[in-house]
């Protein structure tokens, strides 16, 4: 297990390293370089030179990359000249709020999608399975923003039950105190998540219900409940764990869209407003952070894979 972990960790580090090179290169691909991006296209050559010297952009390429990495390790993700604040401060404000939204949505997704998938697998090719499959196809094909808008149109504009915007508080504590406003954003992300995960769970459960050990269990006289939760679940859930890890980029993208639809002040909204105001340091830093989270997610999925399935640890 230790060797497996060490190897996976090494791979994760290599991926983060590659991504950091990518964002670093993007910073250099900006039209006119970082200085023009910050100071504007009408800035004087002397101002640009001064900016480059002050920020180390006149150094050799590799030395610049080293500086970039050194800053990252000291928690310096760059400085947003547009918002006049270090990116790390912006992150520490917005990240908990995004985590709160994603966490809630993921929690509901898992506790709804897994039983639903198992139910569909048991009732395979019966009318109720078809109905759920049809619904999940619609949910799967639905752009997140369109779903969010439909929910706003129905619950806020038509029924007037729920507010159309998410909690606007600057802190995550404020978001906790306004549960009513959280309902629609969480519901949006949950519907999208359930639509795809129940489908994966269904096919995974069907696959493992066809295995020999299920037949053996049936022959032994194990009850339906015992077969489903004692024998099938642990095997069927394996691919789902990997898929959860792999779906983190999609989750984060969904988060970005949901946050912009409901104006929820998280990392996604921060990224969107940064893109609108061409706030490059923020954009690049957030891209890196998002990538690190994805790698971390994949790594954790692999670890839990090892915990659930002992065979993985041996190989």
């Amino acid at each position: 297990m230790t060797r497996y972990l060490v190897r996976r960790f090494g791979q994760a580090l290599a991926v983060v390293f590659l991504v950091s090179i990518l964002t670093f290169l993007l910073l250099h691909l900006l039209p006119g370089g970082a200085a023009r991006a910050e100071l504007g296209f009408r800035s004087s050559p002397s101002a640009i030179k001064a900016f480059n010297i002050a920020n180390g952009y006149n150094r050799p390429f590799f030395s610049q990359y080293w500086l970039y990495i050194d800053h990252l390790f000291h928690g310096n993700f760059g400085y947003s000249y547009k918002l006049n604040e270090p990116v790390s401060t912006l992150l520490s404000m917005d990240l908990p709020k995004s985590a709160y939204l994603s966490g809630l949505a993921l929690f509901f997704t898992v506790i709804i999608a897994i039983p639903l998938g198992i139910y569909q697998a048991v009732r395979r090719n019966k009318p109720d399975d078809y109905v759920v499959t049809g619904l999940s196809f619609i949910g799967y094909s639905m752009p997140t923003f369109w779903l969010g808008l439909l929910l706003i149109a129905f619950f806020s504009v038509y029924l007037k039950w729920l507010p159309p915007s998410a909690p606007q508080s600057a802190t995550v504590g404020g978001a906790f105190t306004d549960p009513k406003a959280m309902v629609l954003p969480v519901l949006t992300l949950t519907i999208v998540g359930v639509a795809s995960f129940s489908r994966y769970m269904r096919s995974s459960a069907i696959e493992s219900l066809a295995q020999d050990y299920i037949r053996t269990a049936k022959a032994k006289g194990v009850t339906q409940r015992g077969i489903l939760f004692g024998h099938m679940l642990r095997n069927a859930i394996l691919p789902i764990v990997t898929l959860l890890g792999l779906s983190i980029p999609a989750l984060l993208s969904g988060n970005l869209i949901t946050e912009s639809v409901f104006n929820y002040p998280g990392v996604g909204l921060l990224f969107w407003t940064a893109a609108q105001s061409r706030d490059y340091p923020t954009l690049l830093a957030l891209t890196l952070v998002v990538a690190i989270f994805t790698v971390l997610g994949n790594f954790m999925a692999d670890i839990s894979y090892g915990i659930i399935d002992r065979r993985v640890r041996v190989s």
Binding site: V15, L30, Y140, S141, M142, F145, P249, L256, I257, L286
Partner: protein, 307 residues
């Protein structure tokens, strides 16, 4: 099992069985794919929908003429009525004609990006899987690194840096879309390369490119086609999201996502024609491609057919 020869179960063979009955004519697999595909009603619905949407977007403007060049503020946000079956948008463009125009760019970019990504991904995956070892490790770590960058974030980043047009948007979508086919094909190649017929090519002195292009890729065609279908759906979704966030192809070009985000401004005014037709069209298009992709996967997956 080589696809051309199917041996009946042992019980069915007796002395009277002719050799020609054991060796079935080739291309049976292809026929099976078509019949399984046709049996699936959802797939048929999907294909019909795709054809209708393509006709709507590309033939529609030839039949239904509308002014999509000059704006006319005196007729902005008009309700559906004579002359404008779906009303007009906030600068007086005819909404129905705009839907057609927006669909053109969505479909063109979707198809082009999916095919481009499919070709490159297949090549990358096949090479990686065929050679294995250190080449495979390096090539797959690159894929992993790119996969861990959320596409939407990078598309937004790109749109913030350069001016978006149809060509660079296609390339950008394709740049991230080749990763999944590359992984799938690599996995497929890993099992295919141990098969006898690939070993035979090696034994007879056939080079790597011969094995890859004539043997590995044709045998992985099912996986490739299924994935390209899903990629089209994903590309259309990504484009709509980008347009909605305000970074799609700028006007006077039309895109569905941007139309929707403009329409949302009037959601409280009850101007439904600006929101629901375009939203429904996006969902229908994406759903049609998903239906077809799903059915194709069933059709190519021999294991599922037996059940």
């Amino acid at each position: 099992m080589p696809p051309d020869i199917e041996t009946p179960p042992p019980g069915e063979i007796d002395a009277s069985t002719e050799i020609s009955q054991l060796v079935r004519p080739p291309r049976r697999r292809g026929a099976g794919v078509v019949s399984v595909f046709m049996e699936n009603k959802l797939a048929l619905v999907g294909v019909i929908l795709i054809v209708l949407i393509i006709l709507f977007c590309f033939v529609g403007p030839l039949v239904y003429h509308s002014n999509q060049i000059a704006s006319n503020l005196s007729i902005s946000n008009d309700a559906p009525g004579p002359g404008h079956p779906l009303g007009t948008d906030n600068v007086g463009y005819d909404e129905l004609g705009r839907l057609m125009k927006g669909g053109q760019s969505s479909l063109e970019i979707g198809f082009a990006a999916a095919i481009l990504a499919g070709l490159f991904g297949v090549l990358w995956g096949a090479v990686s899987g065929f050679f294995g070892g250190i080449i495979d490790t390096i090539m797959m770590r690159i894929v992993d690194a790119l996969l861990s960058i959320p596409v939407l974030f990078v598309l937004l980043l790109m749109a913030a840096i350069i001016k978006v047009n149809q060509l660079n948007l296609t390339l950008a979508v394709a740049f991230f879309a080749w990763l999944v086919p590359a992984r799938l094909i690599r996995g497929e190649t890993l099992t295919l390369r141990t098969r006898e017929y690939v070993q035979a090519v090696k034994g007879m002195g056939g080079g790597a490119s011969r094995s890859i292009f004539l043997h590995l890729i044709p045998n992985a065609i099912g996986t490739i086609v299924v994935n390209i279908t899903f990629q089209v759906a994903d590309a259309i979704l990504a484009l709509a999201a980008l347009g909605y966030l305000g970074f799609g192809i700028p006007p006077p070009a039309a895109n569905w996502g941007a139309m929707l985000s403009q329409g949302v401004t009037y959601i409280y005014a009850g101007e439904w024609w600006l929101i629901y037709p375009v939203g429904a069209l996006i969902v229908l298009t994406v759903m049609a491609f998903n239906f077809v992709g799903d059915a194709l996967r069933d059709a190519f997956d021999v294991r599922l057919q037996r059940r």
